[in-house]
């Protein structure tokens, strides 16, 4: 039986997280401080979106390092579910945050807040530009990896990065328009538009993340489209549907666990059967990044 020795250098300490994310943590701190000093809700919304995005990456880092240290002891099937539990908490915070932003917006509209000062608008524009550059950089790196890796490995990540970039672009256009507008009322409405766009994006992505986390935690069956893709891959490896006695699949974070029970021909040499199954596993694991394929011979 294999035993993995835990590596204490992989423990996710506050120091290790700080050093891995010092740039993002610094920016989030600055944005949050500026938002608390500002009367501008758009600045608050941008800071919230940046904090949510950074929190998501930090939680992923924590779960990954926890996996490297604790996998032998408690998480023998990996820390995917731990990651999803952390995502669940973040998703709830995002949804709550989006409702809070919308309530600020409603109060602004009903109370008719005075237009933000020019320096406030310029600061918001600068903060928005930094966020936009950061998200553009993220999108570029995910797009690049998606191009290099065939199949559905980075499809979800690319979709998230794209929607984040588009939302930030729309918000930045509105925020810039408010800074250059001569009419303060137009400036005010542009700021509100930016806040509304970000609040809606936070709500939708939070709700989406929440739903995925819940389905993952309860071992819900996979969607029909993913199951159909996996059946297609089996056919590519010349495994007929009659040969497959059973197939069970579940997500655990970004890991896809697939358990296949295949009817093997007892008249064939065992070594040939094992080689065929090894090729099948290789094919599936190549096409699906982070797939954990277990094959049982019936």
């Amino acid at each position: 039986m294999t035993i993995e020795v835990p590596d204490s250098s992989q423990v996710p300490t506050p120091g290790s997280v700080l050093s891995a994310f010092r740039g993002d943590i610094f920016l989030t701190t600055v944005f949050t401080a500026l938002a608390s000093l500002s009367d501008n809700h758009a600045m608050t919304a941008i800071a919230a979106m940046y904090a949510a995005s950074m929190s998501y990456e930090i939680l992923g880092h924590v779960a990954h390092r926890h996996h490297a240290h604790e996998s032998a002891a408690r998480y023998e099937f990996g820390t995917g579910k731990l990651r999803q539990a952390l995502n669940l908490v973040l998703a709830l915070a995002m949804v709550a945050g989006s409702f809070w932003l919308l309530s600020l917006l409603i109060i602004s509209v009903t109370v008719t807040d005075p237009a933000p000062a020019q320096y406030d608008l310029l600061a918001t524009t600068a903060v928005g530009a930094v966020c936009l550059l950061r998200f553009a950089g993220d999108w570029w790196s995910v797009w690049h990896m998606a191009r290099q890796t065939p199949g559905m490995s980075y499809r979800g990540e690319l979709k998230s990065a794209t929607s984040r970039l588009v939302v930030m672009l729309l918000a930045q256009i509105a925020v810039t328009a408010s800074a250059v507008a001569k009419d303060p009322l137009i400036g005010l409405w542009a700021q509100m538009f930016a806040t509304a766009v970000i609040a809606q994006a936070l709500m939708l992505s939070g709700a989406n993340m929440l739903w995925k986390a819940v389905l993952d935690l309860i071992d819900h069956p996979l969607g029909q489209s993913i199951e159909a893709e996996i059946w297609e891959m089996l056919e590519t490896c010349k495994i007929a549907s009659e040969q497959v006695e059973d197939i069970r699949m579940r997500w655990a974070g970004s890991e896809l666990f697939i358990e296949l029970t295949v009817n093997a021909d007892a008249d064939r040499p065992l070594s040939e059967t094992l080689k065929e199954m090894a090729d099948l596993r290789q094919h599936l694991e190549t096409r699906l990044a982070n797939a954990d394929v277990a094959i049982k011979l019936a």
């Binding site: 039986m1 408690r74 998480y75 995917g80 539990a85 069956p221 069970r248 596993r281 277990a294 049982k296």
Partner: protein, 300 residues
Amino acid sequence: MRHPSPEQKAKEKAVLYTSMADLAIVIPMFGIGMATLSLTLLSEAIRVALMLVVEVYTLIILRAAHRDQLRQFRFGTYKLEQFCSFIIGAALVASGAWICNRVATTVLTGELVATPMGLAMAAIISAINTTINALGWYSMAMAAERENSPIYEGQLRARKIKFMTSLVVQTTITIAALAHDPLVSLWFDGVGGAFVAFLQVTIGVRMISEALPDLLDHSVPDDFKARIADGVRLSGVQQNQVLNVRTRRAGPRPQVELTVNPDGCDCLDDLRRRKQALRQSLQDGDDDMDLSVLVDLPRR
């Protein structure tokens, strides 16, 4: 869709009638609690309501399982139940904390928010609740045999705790209603509310701590791992032929995955015999684990 058997229908009816009885009492508890602002009654109403949610989702899952509507959950529905428990546990902790805050604020300000008539009504509704709990516990205790199943024993224990809790609540709220001194009323109402809040937080924390290891795919406890090791030894399969063991909790049927070495097997039938020996030794007639025996495949 499969039709449930008469025994399954009887179980569903038992859970349904219990839930209906609890619903019948929780609505007036909430109504009178909010009208009278009695802390004890409000906190007890919240606790009963959240426990009622447990009964309702149990009934939903029970009905779906009896009609084979949850077949698509290939790894079982226990994680679904544990997630519901986790949510309810979190709600219990949050509401318990809220009630503690209310009790502390009310007692520190010294203002009695519930009127004497309100406290009297709260005491009456609490008495009805106590009677229902007493009858429920009594009927279960009379039906109990010398040796009962663990589930029945668990239910009996839960009913007893419910009855004892409602007795404490009844005592404090009755004293609060009968006391002439408003300060005494305030303190006893506060004590009753604090007691229920403490109970809620305790039950909530226990529900969360029981659900989390299953939801996070923790490996099985050490005694279960020892049982797996004994099973492998008794199967006759060599220790070095079992290359890897992975486990994860899934309630009463944890998932166990063994990877065996095909070395020494000349044909598929030899491999099947090796797997069968492991299966028989580990499961030994009980279906208390989701066992998968894999064969180690060569990697390029």
